[in-house]
């Protein structure tokens, strides 16, 4: 992903799927800045800043991340056991963005999780990763070890007095593990069935302790917010919500893939400018805007703004932001 502008495409700028950066290299390229700043702030200040940056969950539901964190009881991590969990299940057909983040720059996720843990005062973090992501697992595990050796994980992180450590958990399979309460149940070693709410995970999650579950892409945004501030972050976007978004398409496009663009980019730009348009001889008939669990939109919406509210108004959802295309030659039914 070289050649990307860190100012415009912060999430992918440091992604290197051949050899991801180690902690020192990451440092050199501007990594850890967000963490260093955050550890000097109070947890409440961080939550406010994240709320103000209008980061919405990238896992599909689009809930405000800062607001989600604010529901967590405020005791310090020394006084109360709390967990922070990254949801990397990514089994939604047509969705393949988190994979790129963990394979290409696992430290960005780790940094985001440390900041978030500090913000909600969690001592333990778990990355729940899709079982088939063998390379991602290897990279993450290695990154966790490196980060620990470099003093970013473990006790008294960077001399702040804050203790936090991370564990990577490969999923045993099943799509439902991506649903946050089923994910928690699975982590507990039980059948991955969803749980009743209340209690919401922020109050009673993993082993009954307050738990925040966020998507991997969500966490990967956090370091940049903390490093560059709310204004900058809001400026990345092309709509009222903040930041960039990993968009993508699959199906009969010329160059299916993942692209980082301002949140609120239109599908027309994603498909025609980034993915090269439809393959020759195929026309777009309809599409699922954000993964298999979003409703079809017809070709008349081919230029739809891919922010949170617009697809919803059209009868669908932004979902994961990775569209599945249906062309005019494939049976919509079969």
């Amino acid at each position: 992903m070289t050649g990307l502008n860190p100012e415009k495409q912060p999430l992918l700028a440091l992604v290197n799927r051949e050899t991801p950066l180690d902690p020192a290299g990451y440092d050199k390229k501007g990594g850890w800045r967000g963490l260093r700043r955050a550890l000097g702030m109070s947890p409440a200040e961080i939550i406010t800043e994240v709320t103000d940056s209008k980061l919405r969950g990238r896992g599909g539901a689009g809930f405000s991340t800062g607001m989600k964190w604010s529901f967590v009881p405020k005791e310090s991590s020394k006084d109360r056991l709390k967990y922070i969990v990254a949801n990397g299940d990514e089994m939604e057909p047509g969705t393949f963005k988190d994979r790129i983040l963990v394979e290409g720059n696992p430290l960005q996720l780790i940094e985001g999780m440390i900041i978030s843990a500090y913000a909600i005062q969690a001592r333990h973090g778990i990355i729940f990763l899709r079982g088939e992501y063998h390379l991602g697992l290897e990279r993450l595990q290695q990154a966790v070890i490196q980060a620990r050796e470099a003093g970013f994980l473990g006790e008294n992180i960077l001399g702040s007095g804050f203790d936090f450590d991370l564990h990577v958990h490969p999923s045993a399979g099943r799509y439902i593990c991506g649903e946050e309460t089923a994910l928690i149940t699975a982590l507990e070693g039980r059948r991955a069935n969803p749980r009743a709410k209340p209690p919401f995970p922020q109050i009673g999650g993993l082993w009954g302790a307050p738990t925040v579950v966020n998507n991997i892409e969500t966490f990967s945004n956090i370091p940049h917010i903390l490093a560059n501030g709310t204004e900058w972050y809001l400026g990345l976007s092309a709509c009222v919500d903040g930041g960039t978004k990993l968009y993508g398409v699959s199906g009969r496009a010329k160059r299916p893939g993942v692209f980082e663009l301002p949140l609120g980019t239109s599908l027309g730009v994603i498909l025609n400018e980034c993915a090269g348009g439809m393959q020759d001889g195929y026309k777009l008939r309809a599409f699922l805007p954000g993964g298999a669990s979003t409703a079809f939109l017809g070709a008349e919406h081919a230029d739809i703004i891919m922010d949170y509210p617009t697809p919803e108004k059209a009868g669908s959802r932004l979902g994961t932001g990775l569209a599945i295309l249906l062309d005019d030659k494939t049976s919509p039914i079969g």
Partner: protein
């Protein structure tokens, strides 16, 4: 796309709450039905209901269902027209394009036709009935059969055909007689066509006895299925039914003519397809009668297929009848026939610990739709009193049962006396043979075959694997256009293969049909047009064979001369092959004629075998193959081998029985599932069995060898365990357990592991399941590297669930033994098979062909439901095919030629050359322990060339035994030649040789005893 997504969501439901757990699979199945053309407008309504009822937040426990329903609900709206088109009812002539076809891999030319307003892709080389069935339509039929083609007799498959898009009236045509042409427009659901079909079935049923509750076809009857499908429910015919007398047709087939609906399938199979002559159609009008001219045993060795070919209960399975059970109350398992080396695929049915019957299991490349009678009725030995059901010691010539542990302990004590020597068996599984070989070591292991068979099988396998020819499947044989059978009575040594070879003549008719522009499936027309066609099959054999009528003037000559002819043919094709000196004029002419025909053929086929124990015959055949290859042809080659696993043992390797004999002296000798008395003459048998310090026998039946042993262990038969056999074609195939015996029977390899444990040999560790052993064989012996692919492993699941082996209608297992106890007992299980022993588990048309335990789909309860399991009718199974080829010829192999041309046969004064007379019934070991086969086997006779008085007998010495047998004169044999069925007169004799025959006239017979 929607089906694809809903499949994902249905599979991924966590199973907690109902709407998504049970609603989504229903949604998926509706989508499949609609996509495959079996959907209705009501199905679309059901989908709308599902979307409405499952989708909204809160209906389900979590957000999985709303997500799952999103593409469906939106798709139903957005693609409403596509849905409508797929389920649309006949609006004649209004073809609409873009509809999805059935998910089939298509081969060959296709056309777009319209069936009930839906455009489907159909093959142009089939008839419309086939096209409809392949498009997922339920269209009833009787006289058409996938392998027998169409004759248009029953008129049941009537449909409406429209001339063009503007034609609104159309006309009724018979689908089975209508070709598929581009743009043709049909309706199956047209009311007039429907009414006509309803009437046809009502007519067919006027004389049917409606005796389903007592009929053995009931529950798996094509007539029942088709009647229900047609919708005929009420009987309006108020008059008397005609009745018929039934015939006694021998030990295999029962006859109940009153059930007949006159579809003519039986005679078409029996006469036209299989070449039988003693079953015909008699009388006329609604009194037509299908039977023999008088009661008597059906002569064709394929008579059992009538049971499956007949759409109702006219011909039923007689041995099965004696232990009858409904289809739904039996367990089924896929199996492989072990009664010869051909490797036909079967289904065996079990109930209450007994094998009830054997059915055909479709394998498109092997036996396809038919079996021979030895295969179908030869299983009875597994239930026979001759079975060993416990470990035993032989005391005073009697088998005395002992607990297995005691016998094992005893073995542990004697095992170290002398070295261990093992004799394997070509009738035992690869796995058991391998285990024995491992236990005793390669240098102390025998293949269990005696000379000359041992060397000949090895030679055949090496010729096949170094030849430039392809090893022929039976399917390929059927379509050869120039074939030579050299010195083998295939009709007797591989009956099913001979049935394939019989089709060569029919295939030749197709040329005449092509000229007359008649499609190949118009069977009666093709046979009419082809009448004058000369068969491209050449047959060279010392004796008359059942294939003679299918060949171009069969050549009758002694094995040596047959081999010489073969060498001469090879030389005439490629003159670098050795020539034969001293041919007679007629031999030279035959050689040229056959050479020319083979060279002119597109698919030349060469067949020979081991019947006459002649290496020269095999080499001559291989020479012809090499010669054809040298001329740029792609010949097909096949050698008939003697036993179910002869090929496997030859590939595994080992010493011959003759070589092992000296090693066995003073040893602890373990004999695996092998009766040495059939292979060694009496003296050698006594030396081997008596010379061993200890003789341990593992077998499933009591044999003369077992009676000589100190310890016997009872092996599980092929129906009681799982294992792999390699057929003569080099195809490794797996058979699966169907009986869970209550006796302590286990697979040979498990006993061998137990023996090793008992003796403390730690080079053989017990295998916990068959798959482990198979993996070890594959890793140890490179020739077997691919055997794991022969069938899925025991952890195979379909949609995540292991397979079941009973139908869902099975009478409850607690109910069925409620007279004993109402408590459920845990069903039996085995770590070796992927089939669950009960009705619990998954089943479907996409299951692998190797694992089909029975054929059934909704609405189709008979074996005719096979249609739904095939990608296209008569083609591959949807779930993949059966077995894996271990031996292939080498394309472009440098043709090397065998140079040893034998000298011509020369009679000897005062002596007879005695040739083995192969028989379908009588000469095979295990099938003769089945009562129906024993009943069917004719008594042994010696056929003598030259005059013999009626009622005479011969006295002769065979392998050192003095035998007396009835003699008959056989004018087709030359003077000085006689034949004798192997193993039937002398137990061990099977190889040609010179004998002195003492012929006693009937007058001198008085008071002498028959040895038979």
């Amino acid at each position: 796309m929607i089906r694809n997504l809903e499949h994902f969501f249905a599979q991924e439901s966590c199973g907690w709450c109902t709407p998504c757990r049970d609603g989504l699979p229903w949604v998926e199945r509706l989508l499949i039905a609609i996509e495959e053309g079996r959907g209705t407008p009501e199905d679309i309504e059901r989908l709308h209901d599902a979307a409405r009822l499952i989708g909204p937040m809160g209906r389900t426990f979590c957000a999985h269902a709303p997500g799952a329903i999103a593409p469906l609900a939106s798709g139903l709206k957005m693609f409403a027209e596509d849905f409508q088109r797929l389920v649309s009812k006949p609006t004649p002539g209004t073809a609409e394009s873009g509809a999805a076809g059935r998910r089939l891999r298509r081969y060959g030319p296709m056309a777009k036709i319209v069936i009930d307003g839906r455009e489907v892709e159909a093959r142009t080389d089939v008839n419309l009935l086939q096209a409809c069935l392949e498009a997922g339509k339920d269209l009833p039929y009787f006289c058409w059969h996938p392998e027998l083609g169409s004759v248009g007799a029953c008129r049941q498959c009537a449909v409406k055909q429209y001339a063009n898009a503007d034609d609104t009236r159309g006309r009724i045509v018979m689908a089975c007689m209508t070709p598929v042409t581009e743009g043709a427009i049909f309706s199956v659901d047209d009311p007039e066509a429907k009414e006509f079909r309803g009437e046809v079935v009502e007519w067919l049923m006027t004389n049917h006895p409606h005796d389903c509750p007592v009929c053995e076809e009931g529950g798996e009857c094509h007539l029942q299925d088709m009647t229900v499908m047609t919708g005929h429910r009420e009987r309006r015919y108020r008059f008397d039914k005609r009745t018929h007398n039934n015939q006694e047709l021998g030990p295999f087939v029962k006859h109940e003519m009153n059930r007949c609906i006159s579809c003519y399938r039986c005679v078409r199979f029996y006469r036209d397809y299989a070449g039988g002559e003693d079953l015909g159609v008699f009388a006329s009008h609604n009194n037509v009668y299908f039977g023999r001219h008088e009661s008597g045993t059906l002569e064709s060795p394929f008579s059992g297929n009538l049971i499956e070919v007949c759409p109702t209960g006219v011909f039923t399975d007689k041995p099965f009848s004696k232990m009858y059970s409904r289809k739904w109350d039996m367990r089924g398992a896929p199996s492989v026939c072990s009664n010869c080396a051909t490797g036909c695929n079967t289904i065996i049915n079990e109930r209450a610990g007994k094998v009830r019957r054997t059915l055909n299991r479709y394998n498109d490349e092997v036996n396809r739709y038919f079996l021979c009678d030895r295969g179908r009725f030869g299983h009875g030995w597994v239930n026979a009193p001759t079975r060993l059901r416990s470990a035993g010691y032989v005391i005073n010539g009697d088998m005395t049962p002992v607990p297995a542990q005691a016998a094992l302990d005893h073995f542990g004590k004697i095992a170290n006396a002398g070295k261990l020597v093992g004799i394997g068996s070509p009738r035992a599984s690869l796995e058991s043979n391998y285990a024995l070989r491992k236990l005793v070591g390669e240098e102390n292991f025998s293949t269990g075959m005696a000379e000359p068979q041992h060397s000949l099988v090895k030679l055949a396998v090496s010729l096949m694997s170094t030849s430039a020819a392809r090893i022929a499947t039976m399917q390929e044989m059927e379509t050869s256009d120039g074939a030579l059978i050299l010195g083998e009575d295939v009709a007797a040594t591989s009956p099913r293969m001979s049935l394939a070879l019989r089709q060569i003549k029919r295939t030749a008719f197709n040329k005449a049909a092509d000229q007359a522009r008649v499609p190949h499936w118009m069977d009666a027309s093709v046979r009419t047009l082809g009448q004058d066609t000369v068969s491209p099959l050449f047959l060279v054999s010392p004796t008359v064979t059942d294939l003679d009528g299918f060949a171009q003037d069969p050549i009758r000559t002694m094995p040596e001369d047959a081999a010489r002819l073969g060498f001469a043919i090879a030389h005439r094709i490629d003159d670098s092959a050795p020539d034969v000196a001293g041919l007679t004029e007629s031999e030279a002419a035959s050689a040229s004629r056959i050479a020319d025909a083979l060279l002119a053929a597109e698919k030349p086929l060469l067949v020979s075998g081991l019947q006459y124990a002649s290496a020269a015959l095999l080499q001559a055949t291989a020479n012809i193959a090499s010669a054809l290859a040298a001329k740029g042809k792609a010949p097909l080659l096949s050698f008939v081998l003697p036993e179910a696993n002869s090929m496997g043992l030859a590939l595994m390797g080992g010493l011959s029985l003759d070589e092992i004999a000296s090693r066995a002296a003073g040893s602890t000798l373990i004999v695996l599932e092998n009766d040495l008395s059939r292979r060694l003459d009496k003296a050698a048998f006594d030396t081997v069995t008596g010379g061993a310090a200890n003789l341990v026998v593992l077998d499933h039946s009591v044999t003369p060898t077992a009676i000589r042993s100190q310890i016997t262990f009872p092996s599980a038969a092929y129906s009681e365990t799982d294992g792999t056999l390699v057929s003569a074609e080099g195809r490794a195939q797996r058979f699966f357990q169907v009986v869970y015996p209550d006796a302590p029977l286990q697979a040979g390899w498990r006993w061998i592991a137990d023996l090793a444990q008992a003796a403390g040999f730690d080079h053989v560790k017990p295998w916990s399941k068959l798959d482990d052993l198979i993996a070890e064989i594959a890793a140890t012996l490179p020739v077997f590297a691919r055997i794991p692919e022969a069938a899925p492993s025991s952890d195979y699941t379909l949609e995540g669930i292991p397979l079941r082996s009973q139908t869902h209608r099975v009478s409850g297992r607690t109910a069925i033994r409620a007279n004993i106890s109402v408590r459920d007992i845990p069903p039996p299980a085995s770590p070796d098979t992927p089939l669950h022993s009960t009705m619990e588990g998954s089943y479907g048309t996409d299951m692998p062909g190797t694992l089909v335990p029975f054929y059934q789909v909704p609405g189709w309860n008979s074996e005719q439901s096979l249609n739904r399991f095939q990608q296209e009718i008569g083609g591959k199974m949807r779930g993949g095919d059966c077995g894996v080829r271990l031996v292939e010829g080498i394309a472009n192999a440098a043709g090397s030629y065998a140079m040893d041309v034998p000298s011509a046969f020369a009679p000897r004064a005062g002596q007879f050359m005695l040739l083995p007379e192969a028989r379908v019934f009588g000469t095979d070991e295990m099938s003769m322990m089945s009562q129906p086969i024993a009943d069917r086997a004719a008594p042994a006779v010696v056929r003598v060339g030259g005059a013999v008085a009626k009622g005479a007998q011969v006295r002769l010495s065979l392998n050192g035994e003095l035998c007396t047998v009835d003699a008959v004169s056989d004018p087709s044999l030359p003077e000085g030649v006689a034949t004798c069925p192997p193993h039937m007169v002398s137990r061990s004799w099977s190889t040609p040789g010179w004998v002195s025959l003492e012929i006693t006239a009937p007058a001198e017979r008085i008071g002498t005893e028959s040895a038979v």
